[in-house]
Structures are given as structure tokens and as C-alpha cells.
Amino acid sequence: MSKLELNVNGQQQTVEDVPADMPLLWVLRDRLGLTGTRFGCGLAQCGACTVHLDGNPVRSCSVPASAATEVRITTIEGLAAADGTLHAVQQAWLEYDVAQCGYCQSGQIMSATALLARNAKPSDAEIDAAMAGNICRCGTYVRIRKAIHAAAAVLRARA
């Protein structure tokens, strides 16, 4: 058990009594109440729990929170600007009405934003590689791909 200092969505958070092996996912969901990061498999197979550590997409079900004390943690709740302006990827998700059940979409969006942060114009193959860790049981892949291309174009136009 230890006390952890975590930087989540730009805020310092103190979490008491955290077992050394407790995954970041459950600290976010059960201790900090950030339920937008979702549990799907617990094996880093489905990507529903994807968050950013220093901008890199990771499966929070398989990363101990104690390993995330020195990095900036970003969750789906921290993606939009403080004034509520959505990230271009979130906006594209709305424009293409991507979600069906929607449960995987936090993770999809986190993977997509990480991709676009390092690749301004991803090819279809690059999208496949970056998004392969995120399962959508409803099969929204056609729209996910369109939304990523559209968000990429918006971000390029802004740059």
C-alpha cells in the first residue's frame, strides 16, 4: 500500500492506500471517479481502457498506477479544452456519428488522438496499425476510419 501522486488531466491528485500492483484503470475508475475510461477485458486485448501517458496510448488495465507517477496522464475526460471545445477527433466522431453502443469509443478516440499527434496524415495502413488494439463490437470501423481522416484534415488546416 502506498500513497500515489498522479498528474491526471493536468491536475495533481493524491490517492491513498494503493496496492503496488493496482492497475491505473481501477484507480481512475474506482478511486478518482473518472469512469470514461472503460473496462473491457483486463488483458490489453480490447483497448476500451486506453489512456495517454505523456501522449502515448497505453492500456490502463495493464499498467500499475504506481508506474505512472512521473508522467502526465490524459483520459477521455481531459481531451476537450477547458472551455468545452472538443478535440478535432471528438468533433469528427460526432460529425460522422461513429458510435453505436459507444462503449469502446473513449478508447478509440484516445488511440486516434495519439496517432494524429505523431502523424498528421496517416494512410489507411497506418490507421490500421495504430487502431488495431481497439475492438469495436458494433463494427463501426468504416466510420472510425472516415472520422480519423476528417480530423486529420482539420488539424492540418489549423497547423
Partner: protein, 734 residues
């Protein structure tokens, strides 16, 4: 036959329901089945709610949202007849209350057809009252007024007034008889058949609490419930004292089951201060199971037994139970120019909805319970939990949740039963969380099975006789597992002159249930593949063969608007053929395949364009989907369901199967049970043949034709006939 009861609420009731001080128009509409009208006359059970006030237009979404889009599409139906501008409409999720909202269920693609007329009538009534209110204010005839975009317009003078400014006057007017009001024709629609985005899209992309698993209530503890790996096993003993001493663990106890494997199985409940501590307790838990009455279901040996049965009895098509017999089948086969026989098998499947089962439950004083279940049947959750706890239904409150996938899994309310039983015993609010492993091994699965088929072709290459011997399952030798019973008149059987359908039943204990397009999702593959074997044997083009079989436009059975209509079937087949370029020349190893299926009153034809390489890898280049579900409500949502169903169909046929060995499921997580990932999606071309038939739901019927369309294309591309699902069993991949 139904008639509509539309009721206006008075000011007191309006305040009670809406909490709005300003007053306005609040309409509820109920559908009364005339056969039960006498019983229902004293109770008013509206299935639609509309509220218009100075604050705007509010439509209640009453049906469970599982990703099929009903929180958006069903309110659109009302808004269309109301002639409201969609931007003016706010949609609010209604609570669970059978008395107030009628049936609230997401299953069988029924929500849209069930809501179609009540929502239209409610909109038309409100519109008529708003027109009347404006006409009185202007002192003109109501017949001189029209509406558009939430305004009443006096046509001659061009005066306009917004609905919100008419609500108080409208509320003082009598309610017109809904049956006397003219509903819009399809050509007059301004909102329906357009692309509207989901009303709650922003919540989904910003991670706001949305699902049952996001619910947090004060004092909530975290629970897990450990059941026997072999279904039906009971707890003999467990090291509960050791487990209770672990850090973060609050309690651990055993629960008896209630004897129903789809409600409350026996197991050990673990309660902790967070999910991870509960999981720690679970790792330390040692249970000795009594497996004397546990399932020993075994798929490899059962499939071998089914194959034996399919070969038995000489002709291989004589099951123990006769399901249907029509015409002289023996004569049809005796006089046939050609006969064809083949057996097809399909695997047991998991629902694998992405949100694992979970439920928050809070005990109430007096023995009641408050629950937040992810349920497709929230009203049944209420009655089932009340029965389990031995309390009146009124003492169980259900809060509706958006579901992280349904696919039929959440028609059963086992997780609500477990959560209620644990919270009742602990007398504490708890969140029960299943692991993916719990989900995979305690699903209510799609039954596998086998069909031994025989067809007779006459001198003209026409299908003259048909034998189908289905091998399916039953837990008790009487009741066929849910979704496992072939209907006598399934699909094209009514079109064939001589038919004999029989069934053999093997024992199977593990619970089976409804999986997206129940029955149809399994049966379309053998039936529509075998029809292709027959057209190939006859040397006929498959489209021409199917159209010839369909014959003249008619309902089968006759005069039944919920049945297969051969004209509608031919319509979508022709449309799919035209749009896919049926008959076009393709390079070697590349071909088109066609399949049709009728399910959930929807007529769907699909053409897949595939190529197959030497390593038996299939590339699906395109799937053309032609659908007749009557009118389209939300084009955006309708297209989404078609796209998703094609991907789901490919996902399921490629490699999904549950392998039971000695009562234990091998596939416990996504590392062993492959859900399709992004990459190489086919081009999905969707075409709706819109008609004035009542609408069918679209959450299911596009899935069944996917596998046979692809497999028929594979045959045409490489000459190999796939007769098992998943196709990985025959060495193929997609």
C-alpha cells in the same frame, strides 16, 4: 387491431410530471389492443410522451438504447408528424414504468415497429391542437393554417407563431380523435429518411458517465461473484475466513442459487472497497465445488454425434421429430433429374458485448431494491428481481442505462438478480462487476447445430423437393434451446412443392439464448448456401434460380403482412444484383455471391464480392446490401446498423466459436475469441427499397445473409464449398 388513447394532462398533472411552473401541453398516447381493451380501459398506459411548453419541445425516449439508435430514431417519428424542427426538440430518457410507458424492451428488432403508429398519432394530435390554438388566437379557420419547422402558419396572411408560444392555449383544448387525423404520406416527410446524429453523441465522445458500469452511488462497495467453471456446479466449501482478512476486503459469503441458471446461480460473493481489492480476494479464494449435477456439455463429441445422426437412417434426413411435411417428398426425389445432399454445421457463439455484465444495487428499507442494470428488458428485470427477493414489484426500482452492447445477451437479467441478492445479504449498496472471463463462461449463448439437407431438381432444373434434418439441443428433452428451433416455414420452405422437415434433439445443459437475429443468424448459412448448391447443380444463374422459386408476388403464409412477401424478396434481390453488377466479368479467383434472408419482417438481399488466394485467405472487397424494411426513419442510424451487421457477420463467421470440453468453455477472453478488428473493411454499399409497408427494425436482419453470401462467392471464386462455421474450421480465413 389496435386503437389509440391519447390523453392530455391537466395543469396539476403537468407540474407533477414535468416540474415546469409555466404550464403547457403534455400529451401521452397509449396503444390499446382491442382484444384486451376491456381489461385495460381503466388504466391509461401511454407509450409516448410529448411535452410542449414555453421552454420548448420535449420528447421522451422510452425504449432501451443498446446502440441501435432508438433514443434518436423513435423521437424522430413523433417530431415528423408534429412538424417540429429537429433542432427545437430535446430528447429526454424516460424512466422504467410499464404503467406509464407501455412495453419498454430492446429485442427482436421490435422497438421501431411497435412505436411507429403511437408516435405518429401522438405527433399528429399535438399538431392538430397547436393549429387549433393558433387559429383561435388569430380568429381564422384552422383549415386555413398549416405548419412547418415548429410553427403554425396562416397561409393567406403569412403570419407565423412558434409552438412554444401556443402551448398554454393548446393545453386548454379538447383532444381530437387520433383516428380521424390524416397522417403524412412518405413523400411529405421532411425529417424521416434524413441523416440525424445521435442525441447523446457528445456524452459518448467526452466520456461522461453513460453506462451501468459508470454508476457511482454514496457508500457503494465493489463486488464480484464467483461461479463454478462448470455450469450448474454448487459450492461445497470455501476459504472465506482467509479471504475476509485480506486488505480492502469487506465481506465474503456464499449464495445458494434459485435453481434457474439464467437468474441466480450458486456462488461466492466477494465485497471490497474497490474492484481491484475484490479481484485480489478472488485470486486468494479457494472453492471446492460440488459438480455432481453440473453440465458436462462437450462440443467436439456432440458435433461428431450430430454428424453421425446426419448420416443415419439411410437417407440421412430422418430426424426423430417431424416438424413439417407437405407434398409428396418421396415422389419428388424418386422422379428427380438430380438430387443434391450436404450437411452444414454452425458453432456456439458468445455475445461478447464489450461492456462486461455489471449492476449497481442499493437495498431499500422494507426489503425493496433499487437497481441500475444494463438490461434490454428492464421491466422484466423489475419483476424477476421482485420475485427473487419476495417483494412486491413496486418495491423494486429500475434506473434505465445506455447499454455497452446487447446483441440479445441482456434479454436475461441474471446480473441484476446476482446484484440484488448480494446487496440484500450485505445490506449495503454494491456494484457487481463481472470480469470478461465471467462474461464468456456465463453467457446465454447462441446455440450451435447442424442441418442435413437434400434437394431434388426436376427436368427443368427447378427445385421440386426438399428435406431438412436439423440437429439441435434441449436441456430436458422437451424444450428446444432458445434460438435453436427451426420453424416449419423458415425462409424459402413455403416456396418448395414438396417439403419434409425433421429434427433430432441432443442433450445440452448450458443455457442458450437469443443472439442477434436469433435462429436466422444460424440458419441462413445452411439454407442459403444449399440453395446455391442447387442452382449450381441445375446449371442455372443463382439470381434467376431464386427469382423463379419466388414466383408471383404474394404473402407466405397468405394475407399476412408480417410474413415473407415474395415480391419484396424479389425486389431486394434484383436491387442487390443491379447495384453489385451481378453477372459482370471478374478476374480468375474473384467472384460474386448472393444470399437472401427474411427475418424480423425485413427482406434483405446481399451480394459479396470476394477473392480467394491459394492459402484459403478470403478478401471481401465489397458487400452490396439491399433492404426492404418499409420506410426509413433515421437514414444515418439505418446505414450504421447495416454497416455494423456486415462487420459483425464477417467477424462471427471468420473464427468465432465456443468450444465446450467437459462442461468448461475454452474461450475465456478475446485472446481466444476473435472479434474483428479494424482493417480491410469491405466497401459496404447500402440500398433501401423504401415502401409504405409498416417499418421493420434494422438491428438484426442484415446479419443473416452475410455468411452465405460470402461463402457462395467463395465457391464461385475457387470451387470450394464451405459447410462449417466458423470457416476457420475448414482452413479458411478472412
Amino acid at each position: 387491431m389496435s386503437h389509440y388513447h391519447i390523453q392530455k394532462y391537466d395543469r396539476r398533472r403537468f407540474l407533477q410530471l414535468s416540474g415546469l411552473a409555466g404550464g403547457g401541453l403534455l400529451l401521452g398516447v397509449s396503444v390499446v389492443d382491442t382484444e384486451t381493451a376491456h381489461a385495460a380501459a381503466s388504466t391509461f398506459a401511454p407509450s409516448a410522451f410529448l411535452q410542449i411548453s414555453r421552454d420548448g419541445i420535449l420528447i421522451y425516449a422510452t425504449q432501451p438504447e443498446i446502440g441501435q439508435g432508438v433514443r434518436t430514431s423513435i423521437p424522430m417519428i413523433l417530431a415528423e408528424e408534429l412538424d417540429a424542427a429537429w433542432k427545437d426538440v430535446e430528447v429526454k430518457v424516460a424512466g422504467i414504468d410499464a404503467k406509464r410507458y407501455g412495453v419498454q424492451t430492446a429485442g427482436g428488432s421490435t422497438a421501431t415497429p411497435r412505436s411507429w403508429n403511437p408516435m405518429r398519432r401522438a405527433g399528429a394530435v399535438a399538431r392538430a391542437m397547436l393549429i387549433e390554438a393558433a387559429a383561435r388566437n388569430w380568429n381564422v379557420a384552422s383549415t386555413d393554417c398549416s405548419t412547418r419547422d415548429s410553427e403554425v402558419i396562416h397561409v393567406a396572411s403569412g403570419r407565423r407563431v412558434h409552438y412554444r408560444d401556443l402551448a398554454e392555449t393548446a393545453a386548454t383544448l379538447p383532444v381530437p380523435d387520433a383516428e380521424t387525423l390524416r397522417l403524412k404520406s412518405r413523400a411529405e416527410y421532411r425529417l424521416l429518411n434524413t441523416r440525424v446524429r445521435a442525441t447523446d453523441g457528445r456524452d459518448l465522445v467526452t466520456g461522461r458517465p453513460t453506462y451501468a458500469s459508470d454508476v457511482r452511488i454514496p457508500g457503494m462497495l465493489y463486488a464480484m461473484y464467483v461461479k463454478c467453471p462448470r455450469i450448474g456446479g454448487k459450492v461445497r466449501s470455501a476459504n472465506l475466513d482467509d479471504v475476509r482478512r485480506l486488505p480492502g476486503v469487506v465481506d465474503a459469503f456464499a449464495l445458494e442459487g434459485n435453481g434457474d441458471l439464467t437468474e441466480l446461480k450458486p456462488g461466492i460473493a466477494l465485497i471490497a472497497r474497490d474492484t481491484w481489492s475484490a479481484l485480489g480476494a478472488r485470486r486468494a479464494l479457494r472453492i471446492e465445488w460440488d459438480e455432481s449435477s453440473a453440465a458436462s456439455d462437450d462440443w467436439p463429441s456432440t458435433l461428431a454425434k450430430a454428424r453421425e445422426l446426419a448420416q443415419a437412417g439411410g437417407d440421412g434426413a430422418s430426424g426423430n421429430d417431424l416438424i413439417a411435411e407437405r407434398g409428396d417428398v418421396a415422389a419428388a426425389f424418386a422422379s428427380a433429374k438430380k438430387t443434391v445432399r450436404a450437411s452444414y454445421s454452425y458453432a456456439f457463439l458468445s455475445h461478447a458485448q464489450l461492456e462486461p455484465q455489471n449492476c449497481v444495487a442499493r437495498p431499500l428499507e422494507g426489503g425493496g431494491m433499487e437497481l441500475w442494470p444494463p438490461s434490454q428488458t428492464p421491466q422484466r428485470a423489475q419483476t424477476t428481481v421482485a420475485k427473487l427477493l419476495g417483494v412486491a414489484e413496486g418495491n423494486v426500482t429500475i434506473h434505465p442505462q445506455r447499454l455497452g452492447g446487447g446483441f440479445g445477451r441482456r434479454l436475461n437479467n441474471d446480473v441484476a438478480c446476482e446484484a440484488a441478492a448480494i446487496a440484500a445479504r450485505a445490506q449495503a449498496p454494491i456494484k457487481l462487476q463481472w470480469l470478461r472471463e465471467d462474461d464468456m463462461t456465463n453467457d446465454v449463448v447462441r446455440a450451435g447445430g447442424l442441418m442435413a439437407l437434400q434437394g431434388a431438381l426436376d427436368d427443368g432444373g427447378r427445385l421440386s423437393g426438399w428435406r431438412n434434418h436439423q440437429i439441435t439441443f434441449s436441456p430436458d428433452g422437451k424444450r428446444i434451446v432458445s434460438g435453436g428451433a427451426l420453424r416449419a416455414e423458415e425462409d424459402f420452405a413455403p416456396l418448395i412443392p414438396a417439403v419434409r422437415v425433421t429434427r433430432s434433439v441432443l442433450p445440452w445443459i448450458s443455457p442458450c439464448g437469443f443472439w442477434r437475429a436469433p435462429g436466422s443468424s444460424a440458419f441462413a448459412f445452411p439454407l442459403q448456401s444449399f440453395l446455391h448448391e442447387l442452382s449450381v447443380a441445375a446449371g442455372r444463374d443463382h439470381l434467376e434460380f431464386l427469382l423463379d422459386l419466388l414466383g408471383e408476388p404474394r404473402w407466405l403464409p397468405p394475407a399476412n403482412a408480417g410474413a415473407l412477401n415474395t415480391g419484396r424478396a424479389a425486389g431486394v434481390l434484383r436491387l442487390a444484383a443491379e447495384k453489385s453488377g451481378w453477372g459482370k466479368r471478374l478476374p480468375k479467383g474473384r467472384a460474386l455471391g448472393m444470399a437472401f434472408y427474411f427475418s424480423h419482417t425485413a427482406h434483405v438481399a446481399e451480394v459479396a464480392e470476394v477473392s480467394v488466394d491459394a492459402a484459403k485467405h478470403i478478401t471481401v472487397h465489397a458487400v452490396t446490401v439491399a433492404v426492404d424494411v418499409g420506410p426509413i426513419v433515421n437514414l444515418n442510424g439505418a446505414e450504421a446498423q447495416c454497416q455494423g451487421s456486415v462487420i459483425d457477420g464477417l467477424s462471427a463467421m471468420a473464427a468465432q466459436q465456443l468450444t465446450y470440453r467437459g462442461g468448461v468453455i475454452d474461450e475465456k477472453n478475446f485472446d481466444r475469441y476473435a472479434l474483428r478488428r479494424i482493417g480491410k473493411e469491405p466497401r459496404i454499399d447500402i440500398h433501401f427499397l423504401q415502401s409504405d409497408f409498416p417499418p421493420s427494425g434494422l438491428g438484426e436482419p442484415v446479419l443473416p445473409p452475410v455468411a452465405p453470401a460470402v461463402c457462395n462467392a467463395v465457391y464461385s471464386a475457387c470451387g470450394q464449398r464451405i459447410r462449417s462455421l466458423p470457416i476457420s474450421a475448414e482452413g479458411f480465413s478472412i
